[in-house]
């Protein structure tokens, strides 16, 4: 379970939010909303542990993530603004290396299946630099199909995706929630996912 206690984040001299608290239980999704610049990305990066909050605490299973190190990182899949896709590697190599880094071993068939499911089946051996923006996003999101971690933190996952892939992604997220997973995501679109969907609006 993820618990945020009295979180305050500052960017430069600007106070983004303070006194923010929420919790996320297995099977729940939290949709973070807010205008541009209201601190959505900062919140997500802070929850991941990439940025340090000004004050407050982020707890995973009752223990601060600062004290957990790899235990928490093992339970986490983060997809940020940048896709984390290497231009010079092929689509398949990108996915293979990304999953191996998160400590999972998948057979080649599994990897290909995931790429087929996300609509990249005919491009698995193409270098990522040949792909369009939306297709790169798909390579990055293909990790979710293979992810065994409990907490997914997704920063604008729908950016540049077409309607068909958004439907696939929403289905994958719904399955993750059904299996007791947790999702924290930001998007300006409506989230149309079955399950417990909570909302949090940050005001600029």
């Amino acid at each position: 379970m993820l618990k945020i206690l009295d979180l305050e984040c500052v960017r430069g001299d600007l106070l983004l939010f303070s006194g923010l608290g929420f919790s996320l239980k297995p099977g729940e999704l939290l949709h973070v909303k807010g205008a541009n610049g209201s601190g959505k990305t900062t919140l997500l990066r802070t929850v991941c542990g990439l940025s340090l909050p000004e004050s407050g605490e982020i707890q995973w299973d009752g223990i601060s993530i600062r004290k957990q190190g790899d235990v928490f990182r093992n339970e986490l899949t983060y997809i940020g603004h940048h896709n984390g896709v290497k231009d010079d590697l092929t689509v398949l190599e990108n996915l293979r290396i990304a999953t191996m880094l998160s400590g999972d071993r998948h057979s080649e068939d599994h990897l290909v299946d995931a790429l087929v499911q996300i609509g990249l089946g005919e491009r698995i051996d193409l270098p990522a630099k040949m792909l369009s923006q939306g297709q790169r996003r798909r390579v990055s999101l293909a990790r979710l199909l293979l992810s065994q971690s409990k907490l997914w933190i997704l920063d604008e996952p729908y950016t540049a995706l077409d309607v068909a892939v958004i439907a696939v992604l929403q289905q994958v997220i719904a399955q993750h929630l059904q299996g007791g997973g947790m999702v924290l995501l930001t998007t300006h679109q409506d989230v149309d996912i079955e399950g417990v969907v909570k909302q949090l609006t940050l005001s600029a």
């Binding site: 990439l50 940025s51 983060y78 940020g80 940048h82």
Partner: protein
């Protein structure tokens, strides 16, 4: 633990193979800098022989500086670095693997080319042997210490120049003992002390720099 090292080293070498110009640039830089000295200073063999070890060491130092800027910046720009930091693998180990790959791609080729450039500068066989060995011990230290600078200057505009200012002073001891070995052999003194010190630098930087670079990377990501 070894699977992470294996994975990361292979990944970085694969990436470099897909874009060989990056590796080639620092190698040719090394060759060109060394071959400018006979033209610029003097073609006299005696002069070249006396400055040869120093010239090769300084050129190697600058050539490895040249490629350090890209050690983390490519991963930083495309978001892979975030994923590396958030992966359950220990970051220091990831850093160590990246440095190992960096040395295999840019340090080792310099060591291999050294005998050839030594001949160009009129060094004799014994001098070339000693010089090559000092570079074999010294270039990994350059990559290791340089990784701290590369991590600290990540995302800073004009980071390349800043790395040189931060890191070159730290290379001075390696340079002194690296070139000192050849001259002390010529003076009839033993070279053991120089090699022991270079070895000590290597062991120390192997133990300490991955942690320092990992910490610097986390700060740069904020």
């Amino acid at each position: 633990m070894f699977s992470v090292i294996n994975l990361m080293v292979r990944r970085d070498i694969l990436l470099a193979m897909r874009r060989p110009q990056d590796v080639m640039t620092s190698l040719f830089f090394f060759i060109i800098v060394v071959s400018l000295f006979p033209l610029g200073v003097s073609p006299e063999m005696e002069v070249l022989r006396s400055i040869g070890p120093g010239v090769i060491w300084v050129a190697a130092l600058l050539a490895s500086m040249l490629s350090l800027g890209r050690l983390f910046s490519d991963d930083y720009q495309d978001g892979t670095l975030e994923q590396l930091i958030l992966s359950p693998q220990p970051l220091a180990l990831v850093v160590l693997s990246k440095v190992a790959a960096h040395w295999l791609l840019t340090g080792l080729p310099l060591v291999i080319l050294t005998p050839l450039l030594g001949l160009l500068l009129g060094l004799n066989v014994e001098e070339i042997q000693i010089l090559t060995l000092t570079l074999l011990l010294g270039t990994p230290v350059l990559s290791l210490i340089g990784s701290i600078g590369a991590a600290l200057t990540l995302g800073v505009r004009g980071g390349g120049v800043l790395i040189s200012l931060l890191i070159l002073p730290l290379f001075v001891p390696v340079l002194i003992f690296g070139t000192g070995a050849v001259s002390s052999m010529n003076a009839g003194l033993g070279v053991e002390a120089h090699f022991s010190l270079l070895g000590a630098f290597l062991v120390l930087s192997l133990l300490l720099t991955p942690w320092a670079s990992a910490a610097a990377l986390k700060i740069s990501m904020e």
